[in-house]
Every structure is written in structure tokens, then in C-alpha cells.
Symmetry: C2
Subunit: 341 residues, 2 copies
Amino acid sequence: MAENRITIKDLAKRMNLSVSSISRALNDHPSIGEETKKRVKKLAEELGYFPNSVASNFRQNRTYSIGIIAPRIDVYFHSLVISGIEEVMYKSGYNVMIYQSRDSLEREKAITNILQNNRVEGIISCPSIETTDCDHFCKFKTMGIPVVFYDRIPNSNDFSKITINDYEAAFNATEHLISMGCKRISHIAGNQNTGIFSERLRGYKEALEKHHLNVDPDLIIYTSNLSYEDGVKSAQKLLSLPQQPDGIFCANDYTAISAMQVFLKANYKIPQDIAVVGFSNYPISRIIEPHLTTIDDRAFEMGKTAAKLLLRQIEEKNALISSETIVLKSELIIRDSTRKN
Amino acid sequence: MAENRITIKDLAKRMNLSVSSISRALNDHPSIGEETKKRVKKLAEELGYFPNSVASNFRQNRTYSIGIIAPRIDVYFHSLVISGIEEVMYKSGYNVMIYQSRDSLEREKAITNILQNNRVEGIISCPSIETTDCDHFCKFKTMGIPVVFYDRIPNSNDFSKITINDYEAAFNATEHLISMGCKRISHIAGNQNTGIFSERLRGYKEALEKHHLNVDPDLIIYTSNLSYEDGVKSAQKLLSLPQQPDGIFCANDYTAISAMQVFLKANYKIPQDIAVVGFSNYPISRIIEPHLTTIDDRAFEMGKTAAKLLLRQIEEKNALISSETIVLKSELIIRDSTRKN
DNA sequence: TTGTAAGCGTTATCAC
DNA sequence: GTGATAACGCTTACAA
């Protein structure tokens, strides 16, 4: 165990300088002569000195660390958001500590305590499905530690939030189906306790209303997870109706794809007999046949935006942290699953 | 800014006790009376005290943090590995700091320095595509900081590694195609500078040899990325051969899927005319039609195993760190793309 | 331009 | 059982 723990003290002794001079030399403090700086750095190099960020940060009462709490890392959407966060934080010299709540409120609470004890300077989180109030995040607010929520954002106005224009996206997607000639449009909906999914339902409904189309409750299928299997079941329900829809707007891509497959197997033509729109623009949507029309949810951008907002709030710490909401504009990506020409 | 920075000093003053007693009480040190402990904890609670892990860790010369360096987070395989690592580390009370090399050697080197300065206690990494030697990881070895590599593992014997049995998996996959009656089997290969991909090619070749089938260089298509587009191009090349293959073993799922689509469009029947095997068991493989036979690469397990190995090495720090290689057994998952009955 | 010394919050050592 | 004190490695007034 070649313990290689050279400290500035060691450098100081070797050079007959004080530790403060060494510290200043290494940090390019203006009051140190160029000559001395060079010599100090050279010796540091030779002895294999490397700074102890932990000690330095501790002294300065900083950590240059932020925490992410996501339900899971291995969901493509979250992995993209995290990637965006890492990208921005890396360039700004911050460390990113990562935690999965696995959709457990209890675990989420425990993680907030860990982050508090570890003195992270900010937090980016998509709350767990079980999270109804954000009391366990309030401590950060009162300590001046900024928190930014994304995706599943709480109702509270106390925190900053990044989201996309779910309502508008759903509205546009539904209008797109209408413009393709669809008259009986179904919606496969997500958990209505989650804001983004109720917004998508609302957008769907209001687009129908705007175009004087009947909002038929039989055509709205509620699912809990929006899993692939949920999509299969939903499509089967639609197939068993006395009159089938001629268009489906799905709250995510997985259900859209499984619905497409169910209808294809039942010898429906897509998009001629039934047009399908998904949500998220997962990679699979441009691989599956027919290619799926969907909405790009700007996940990577969301991560970058969240990170930049958080950094700004960390830097402005002396000012009172004001909560801010940023809405990213999603994009309808039209592909063969709705292209009727 | 309601600064809520209660320290054990504050508790000590309030209770007319020494800081050491407070520290001991909070840490359930045996030499403190139950009564005192209770009173200290109660006051701590009341004043909203929470421990400063940074200070505590600093004092103890520990960080309870490990670093991950992955090429990217938003590749499903890596996100699964990271998820597995987080799962194990969380349960063991370690923080996970995450970094993306984005396949840049320069960035990877910079990250190793950051991790060194931040005194992580261990590192798990999948080296960048540009990484040919691991010199920049040697400093950890000499400092007694364990490093575990996964997926793209270096040749060096100085580090611990987790991998799957790529050779065997490829061998079995190819034999599976042979057992289904395939005689002209193609391989869509990955970058041969990467060990896992050259192993997959080797497994393919040796399976053919074992069964006295000709290894036809025309049937081996080398790609750089194994991207979806690479798969399309590779399949087109195969289509243009005077004699087409009747089976393809692909080094990943994306190329397998695009190859399937190319052959389907050319009116080949899968698996009757041509059987296809992928590699990785990405979720899309059981969604795409026909469902893709593939090899599960145990990504989540790989993360958990890497984390457990790392923890063991951290805990054993006083002993000399011995490098260890763990090979996980992959699993051939047979689906309709090869099921000829 | 350089040095002295205090201190960040905690724990470990020794003493009582 | 409890207390005093030093120390972890570094930064930063303040002094010189």
C-alpha cells in the first residue's frame, strides 16, 4: 500500500515556505511571485501531490455536488435527463450524485436526508409515484438549497419545475389525427393522479371539442402503468367495441406500439383503417413498422435545462431563491403511422 | 435565508455537556448513559440538528463515495448496469458519483483526476472506445483504491473485471442456428478492437468449424458502431450476394432488427428463409415482430456484481488488493425469429 | 510577497 | 461516564 498522501504541509517543509504560500501558489493567488508558483507546482508534480478537494470544500463550506433523485435510472426517459444533467454539471465542475427512489416514498425521504447530510448544493428530482406532498423537500427550501423538479412535478409553487407543454402537445397530436380524417379517436391514458397524464387527457378532450367531435368515454382507456401489456389490453378493449376507433392517441410509445400490433394482427391497416400517435419519441418509434408518429419530449434538453436553472440558483444563493417554472416545447414528429397520403 | 446550521457545539452549549459527549451520544457510543443519549437526541430533534457527513467523513478520512465512469448514461445497457450499482451501493450506505466519458479518452482522464481529488473509495468503469491502455487508472491501484471494469475490459491483469461469457454465448447462438438447420450463417460483427466483439466473432467461427461448416468471409460483415443503420447496410450487402445466408448471428439487437426488416421487405420469411439472432436482450427484442431470439447480457446483474466486488475490495483495504475477474453467464433466449417449427 | 494562526464540524485519544 | 484537546487538509484574515 504505497500511501501517496502528500499534503501542502509536506510541500511547505520541503520548500521552506509556509503552508499558506503553498496554498496560494497552487491556487494562482496574485500575491505570489511567478517564480515561486512555478517552483511550487514543479515540486508538487514531482512528489505526486494532488489536492484534497474534500478538505478544501469542507473549509469553504461547499461541496460542488448536486443530487439527483429519479424513480429509476434504467428508464430511457430518465437516463436521457440524467445524461443532460451530467453534461452541464461536468462542464461547471460539479459532481452528480445519483439515487433511485424506485417509486418508493419512504426511500425518497431517506434519500433526501442523505443528501442533506452530505451537503449537496442542489437537487434535481422526479418524485416517486407515491409522492403526493413534497414536505420532505421543504427543508432544502428553508436552508437555501435549490430544488428543481422535472416530469412529475408537484402542485406546490414553492419549487422550481421543468416540464413540457403536455396539454398543447396532446392537443396538437389529436388535431393532427383529426386533420388526417379521423372521426372516432381513442385515447390510451396514463395514471390520472400524475399531472402530465391528466394534461394529456385534457389536451385530447379539448381538441375533440374544438372540432365538435363527441368525447366518447368508451374510447378513453385508463391504464395504471402505460406498459406494453397495458397497451395490448387497451387495444383489445377497443377491438371489442361495437364500433372501433379510426385513430388512437396514446400517452406513451409503448402502448402505441402494442396497440398497433394488436390492430395489425386483427387485419387493420395502419394508418388507413386506424392511425396511431404515441408520446415520447423513444428510439423504437422510428424502428417499428410502420414508423410511429409521436411527440418528442425533449428529455435530454430537460436535463440540461434543469441543470442550468439549478446552477443559476446555486450561484445566486445570497438572493432569495425564487421558484421558477420552465416549459419546454415538445415537437410532433409525423411518421407513417398517421401519414394517410 | 433561515440558516439552520446547528452543530454539535450548539447542542453541547445548550446541554452543558462537552462536544465529545454529544458526538458519542448521537453515535450510540456505549460509554454514554441511556438517559443522556435520549436527552441529547431529543434536543437534536427539536433544534433540527442533522449531522454533517462531510465533516465526519473528512475527520475519518473516508468519503463513502464511489465513482462510475461510463461512456454514456443513455445507452440502455449502461443505464441498467448503473441501476444495479446504485441498488447495491445505496443499501451499503455509499454515494454514487456519475460521469460520462462520452467515449473521449481525454475526458476519461480528466474524470479520473476529479475522482482522485474527491477521494472516492472505489471506481467502476467501462472504458471509452478510445482507451487503449489504462495508465490513467494505475494511480488508483497504487493508492489502494480498487477499480472494477465492466463490458469493455482492458487486457491488463492489474484490475478487476466483470464480463459475460461472450465467446460461449456466441458459440451457443451459432450452434442454435445450426440446430435449426441453417447452413450458411452470417455474422454482423462489431468493432474488432473491442474484446467483447472479437470474442463474439471467435465464438461464431468456432461453432461453424465444430460443425464442419465453411467460414465464408463474404458472410462476415464488419461494422464500426453496430448501429441500426449499420445493420441496414450489412443486410443489404448480404442481399446482394450471389447466394444469401439462411441465418444471421448479429453482435447486437439493433443490427439484428434492422437486418430482419431489410429481409422482410425483400420478401424473405423469418425464420423459414432466414433465421436471426441478436445480442443483448433489449426490450425491443420482444416487441418487434417476429420476436427476436437473443442473448441476455445480464446488465443489471453485472452492475450489482461489480458493486459487490468493489465493496469487498474497499472493505479489505488493508489487505493487498488482488484483481479478480468475474464472468457472468449469459442466457440464450429463443423466440420466433429462429423457431422454425 | 510571505508568514501566523484560526477555524470549518467532527471524532479519537487521553485523562479524570 | 464525561471532558479537554488535538487533529483531519485546507483557506483566509490579519500581520509583518
